[in-house]
């Protein structure tokens, strides 16, 4: 929106124009001599004083997947939202810790453009051309809801509830709005898709090693560190509201090291930048581990108590030595160490099968090294410790050998290893730069190994802190109760769903990484769900409907061209609920106008801090928009109405063994009228979670509030005056980790892990499938949160106004490409056109496009995912101990970056 001059300003401007533009000297002299009083002379200053006025301030935030969770003031003038400014009133955690203010960013500072901008969806729209053509018919809410409800009923009648698919990401940014669709999906028995694994934000190494989805320190905790490694993480760009804590940590004496292939915007303030070859991070981490083990720089008492490194492993079958190996009816979930005092294998407490729920070793004195003989039910077997196996496995990861792999000089590797081990507390801040690779689990596990060996996990200022995506929803119990009001749900890993229904060609068939045999086994054994369930012996059936809200599934999907080609035709109904016309909306059948973040009530929280604050409506929803809660409530009501009219009010959900009653659907949705309002739904969340019980929604409007407690979902308490850092319950209270062994588990004895040689953290080079010279890098950018704000003109004007790729100068010169040229990026999967930026800070062989550009920002509608397939790693399909499928906790991640491309100039 360009603001118009008001009448008074316009008259002045017109007057100035009439007098101006004369460079007549006589006039100049006359002007100088004009008598003037200083009070009159300065009266013009009122012009700007009057501009800085408003009628009211509302507190809101942005329902955006950025982990920012920033509280903002929204200024309203003459009934119109004028601008926003950070509320900057988070209470300090303690006087010693820098506060969070003024939390916000460049994008939050122009969110108002989404309220008034031309991309706004104002009315219910029905497709009037082909999908994606951009031709629409404006229809009434009643018509839209009736047609959608009828189609949903058709699908329920003809197929079943698992043919209805619901996708929405990131409840933390607006849990009520998420819960709206989740609630209707649950009541109908529809499929609820994951997002954290699908976006490849889930670090699989965390469930593998710690049995948690992700647990990280809040950003304020960084200031307690003395040594911070930014590893594949670029907080100056991707964590704008938090970056100050890093540089404040530096002013408190921390050393900051940045490890990244390019000299990125966070590296510029680091004490040391280490340029690494893309995708080789585990090689560097394991070379550091090699030095730490060889030079005995590890924390021996810590690893004995907190990790599985002292546990015994059978050398004959590579499996843990279990109680069931030694005694009849012994547990599969109890494990042994070799006790120095008694020189015998003794059970350790804390494992899943152990009755002692503690990590306290008592009188046990486990050894870390050596080989021992144990009498099992099958006879004598040789056993050793996980540590011994690790030590042997690390032998080959010398700094010299790994220097060749990762491009970091051996002397630098040694220095990093020693400094990291000897400066405490030390932490790794981990990002998508290392998590978006095919072997992301190995990257994670190798780095977690470093922080565990050095005793940094479960310490403030220490640990492996992964910040990608916004998985953490603090008042989780309240949100779950609102979003999924039935005990049985159809949760689906979206990676697998998109991969099979999109018939993704990943070029892995016939290679060692062909996922199909593993997928079939995993689905057949019930390790991973796959909806719709196959009928007549088929593994799966085709989905019929996709309902998307609060997200841009299509635009951000890896392999989105293949999804449009293969998945889209299978879908008889695509509904998008949105305040703006994003790519998914553009390719939908119906688009329903949603309220923006400044037009509704909701809550907002993040894993980067421990405060909660609200979204509130600065104005009523504009045009015909409604909040997500009201849209799904209206849809529930309409389904009920149409079901009654059609005489189809009940159906039996065989898998769940329940009768679904459509004749009372609205009452079920609102819990008999208790949850009619958005605000009531928000209060319901607050009331039903330990973190927020007792907080009234209206209190949050006055000031953000810190969480009052942390439920069992977390690994530490929220303590007044102290920062939140994970795993303190394990180190301070000796609670076991939620893993099979109850310890930080580096050894996974699932047969697939053993078959692939990944029972321990190891290094495998990045994939070499496509025969192209450049690695395609699609990191998170400064001007966008995924696709949000990519289309906003205020942001576009501050970069190049169109999609841009970053090229090393030599790579560009070889191809005759100059800065500002238009170029084509291509591989076997697809191609795209962008503006070329010559970027001296990139190594040769890497080409970067900060992600999120909408399909409709490219002339041929091919975006950054056109060159990317979905690739599924077998180890992420298993079921093992603590590794069971759960929504956004365990499932394949799909990865974005392990592809190669080339680039050429377009004329």
């Amino acid at each position: 929106m360009t603001l118009k001059l008001n009448r008074r300003q316009f008259l002045k401007a017109a007057g100035a124009a009439a007098l101006g533009l004369s460079l007549d000297l006589r006039f100049l002299l006359q002007a100088r001599a004009e008598p003037m009083l200083i009070s009159d002379y300065r009266s013009w200053e009122d012009l700007y004083r009057q501009k800085w006025t408003w009628d009211k301030i509302a507190r809101s935030s942005h329902s955006i997947n950025c982990t920012g969770s920033c509280s903002w003031k929204v200024f309203v003038k003459d009934g119109i939202i004028w601008r926003e400014e950070q509320a900057a009133d988070y209470p300090a955690i303690s006087p010693d810790i820098p506060d969070l203010n003024p939390r916000g960013c460049n994008k939050g500072a122009c969110y108002v453009e989404y309220v008034h901008g031309d991309q706004r969806v104002k009315y219910p729209l029905k497709r009037a051309g082909a999908r994606g053509e951009g031709k629409w018919q404006r229809i009434s809410w009643d018509q839209a809801l009736t047609e959608i409800a009828d189609k949903i009923l058709d699908i329920l009648q003809d197929y079943g509830p698992d043919y209805l698919t619901f996708f929405s990401p990131i409840p933390a940014m607006s849990p009520v709005s998420y819960a709206a669709g989740g609630r209707l999906a649950t009541l109908l028995g529809g499929v609820i898709c994951s997002f954290y694994d699908w976006y490849c934000d889930l670090p699989p190494g965390e469930p593998i090693t710690w049995g948690v989805q992700t647990d990280t320190a809040e950003a304020a905790d960084w200031v307690h560190s003395r040594y911070i490694v930014l590893w594949g993480s670029n907080p100056n760009v991707t964590r704008i509201p938090d970056a100050h804590f890093l540089w404040e940590a530096k002013y408190r004496g921390a050393k900051v090291v940045s490890i990244s292939p390019d000299y990125n915007p966070s590296s510029i303030h680091a004490d040391l930048w280490v340029g690494i070859k893309p995708g080789t991070d585990a090689a560097l981490a394991l070379a550091m581990a090699h030095v730490i083990v060889k030079e005995k720089l590890y924390d021996e008492p810590y690893v004995k108590e907190q990790t599985d490194l002292p546990l015994l492993v059978r050398l004959d079958n590579k499996r843990f030595l279990r109680e069931s190996d030694l005694t009849e009816n012994g547990s599969e979930e109890r494990f042994y160490v070799w006790d120095r005092k008694t020189q015998s294998a003794r059970l350790v407490p804390g494992s899943t099968g152990s009755e002692q729920k503690t990590l306290e070793l008592g009188d046990l004195d486990p050894v870390l090294e050596g080989t021992f003989k144990v009498q099992t039910l099958q006879g004598e077997v040789e056993v050793t410790t996980v540590f011994e196996l690790l030590k042997r496995s690390l032998e080959k990861f010398t700094p010299e050998a790994m220097a060749k792999e990762c491009g970091v000089h051996a002397s630098v590797i040694e220095r990093l290893a020693r400094e990291f081990a000897q400066t405490k507390p030390a932490m790794i801040i981990h990002g998508a730069g290392t998590n978006h690779w095919y072997h992301n689990d190995l990257n994670n596990r190798s780095m977690i190994l470093l922080v565990a060996l050095t005793g940094n996990v479960g310490k403030r200022g220490g640990g492996f802190n992964h910040y990608v995506g916004q998985e953490k929803i603090w008042p989780i119990a309240g949100w779950k109760k609102l979003a999924f009001p039935r005990p049985k749900k159809r949760f689906q890993n979206t990676t697998l769903w998109s991969y099979v229904h999109g018939e993704i060609d990943d070029r892995l068939r016939g290679t060692e990484w062909d996922p199909w045999p593993y997928i079939e086994e995993s689905v057949k054994k019930g390790w991973m769900p796959l909806y719709p369930k196959g009928r007549n012996g088929k593994l799966y059936d085709d989905p019929k409907a996709l309902i998307v809200w609060r997200g841009n599934y299509l635009n951000q999907a890896k392999g989105n061209e293949q999804l449009l080609r293969n998945l889209w035709p299978k879908l008889e109904l695509i509904v998008d609920i949105n305040h703006r016309m994003d790519a998914t909306a553009l390719y939908s059948d119906y688009v329903l106008p949603a309220a923006t973040s400044y037009e509704k009530y909701d809550l907002n929280s993040s894993d980067l801090h421990t405060f909660i604050h609200p979204l509130t409506p600065a104005v009523e929803p504009m045009f015909e928009a409604k909040s997500d809660w009201q849209i799904f409530r209206a849809l529930a009501k309409k389904i009920e109405e149409r079901a009654k009219a059609r005489g189809f009010t009940r159906y039996r959900d065989e898998d769940f063994g329940v009768e679904v009653d459509l004749s009372t659907l609205e009452a079920q949705f609102t819990d008999n009228g208790k949850l009619v309002d958005d605000k009531a739904a928000a209060q319901f969340i607050l009331d039903n979670a330990d973190e927020t019980r007792g907080i009234q929604f209206d209190e949050l409007i006055q000031q953000p509030r810190r969480f009052k407690a942390a439920s069992e979902h977390w690994t530490s308490d929220v303590e007044p005056g102290k920062t939140y850092a994970p795993f303190l319950r394990m180190t301070e209270k000796k609670h076991p980790y939620p893993t099979l062994t109850g310890r930080q588990q580096f050894y996974i004895d699932h047969p697939w892990f053993i078959e692939l040689g990944e029972e321990l953290p190891t290094y495998k080079p990045p994939l070499e499938i496509e025969k192209y010279p450049l690695r395609w890098n699609t990191p998170h950018g400064r001007w966008n949160i995924h696709s949000t704000w990519r289309d906003v003109k205020y942001m576009l004007r501050l970069n190049r106004g169109m999609p841009v790729v970053y090229l090393n100068p030599e790579d560009a010169r070889e191809r005759g490409i100059r800065d500002g040229d238009m170029v084509r990026v291509f591989n076997d999967f697809g191609d795209l056109v962008a503006n070329a930026r010559i970027y001296p800070n990139a190594p040769r062989g890497q080409i970067t496009m900060y992600h999120g550009w909408e399909l409709y920002q490219f002339p041929d509608r091919s975006n950054f995912q056109a060159t990317v397939p979905i690739r599924i790693k077998p180890t992420q399909l298993v079921r093992y101990g603590h590794l069971k499928f759960a929504l956004n906790y365990w499932g394949p991640t799909g990865v974005n970056r392990d592809v190669r491309v080339d680039v050429e100039k377009v004329s």
């Binding site: 009070s39 119109i80 601008r83 950070q86 122009c110 704008i240 000089h409 289309d791 169109m802 190594p843």
Partner: protein, 380 residues
Amino acid sequence: MPVEPLNQEELLQSDRQLAMVLDLNKCIGCQTCTMACKMLWTRYEGMEHMYWNNVETHPGRGYPKDWQRRGGGFKDGRAVKGDLPPLDDYGRAWEYDYQGVLFEGKSPNIQPDEGHPRWGPNWEEDQGAGFYPNSFYFYFPRLCNHCSRPACVLACPRSALYKRREDGSVVLNEERCHGYRFCIEACPYDKIYWNAVRKISQKCIFCYPRVEQGIPQACAAQCVGRIRFVGFLDDEDGPVYKLVKRWKVALPLHPEFETEPNVFYIPPLSPPRFNEDGTLNDQPRIPEGYLLWLFGPRVREALATLKRELEKVQNGGRSELMELLQARSYKDLFKLDRPPNPKFNEYACASCAIAQDCTSPLKARTAGAGLRVLARTGRG
């Protein structure tokens, strides 16, 4: 209000000087400051290309293009001729046809109305100079320097520019301005802009309406990197005095322009370079010569002080300078010598916008005709 005659001397005098320090070692180039300023002051017609506050990547040609080589200011006390940058050197504020592409199916993609842009206010973002792996760059936020010897004030034949007596902010009287643009030529920092719709020049006002109410400038108050300190230069208890006068780590940009800026910068440190064999070299990546060009010879002492104090805290010691730069409390960044107007934090009651039976006086003013007009026309 005292009645005084207006004269040139009067326009240059101020009783106190409000100043700003920007810590380049904390600047993350996020441009929240740029947006804060844009959304508050320069969204009006004719101002689309203006960024009173901008952030550019150094080394680079900047905004407007090559501003450092376009003249203005003084040399040995004599005015240096400057020029008027054409609009293309600022970059055109691109518009996009969202309506046609997204709602009418007219073409496949939104694109800048300029076609193939060749320049913009942040065109060289993150590029810098040098060769991998020893390339270098850093972010440089710029606003009007509110100089003590403002070339713009002296150049204006209309006496339309002046320093505000109470805080030394340099402002441009938009009612007196006749659009001669001598000020644009005179400013060596190119921080005055031409409004082709209103036919006047416009510039940063140092957010005087906010400062008068005890609220820091939008670019400073909204700086999420917490790099900006604001205070009066004569206030010995204020952060600005301490950084500029006592610790001498904050320096004016291009002091050789002789305009005596009141915006100061803490110069950037940088990580070490690599030798050809991949081993580390202890030399900083940013060549000293580049920093000397920007800040003059005093930069050596400033960098040495920063390094010495950093080493103190790295070795477990304490440093008053590091405490100051850390600024634990957001409020410590600013000292305006007057309490903030509480109205600035007055939140509307929860149900204000939607409850029908609300009795708040705010209600009448917010649910008025504006919304309905907006809804009917469908235009923001």
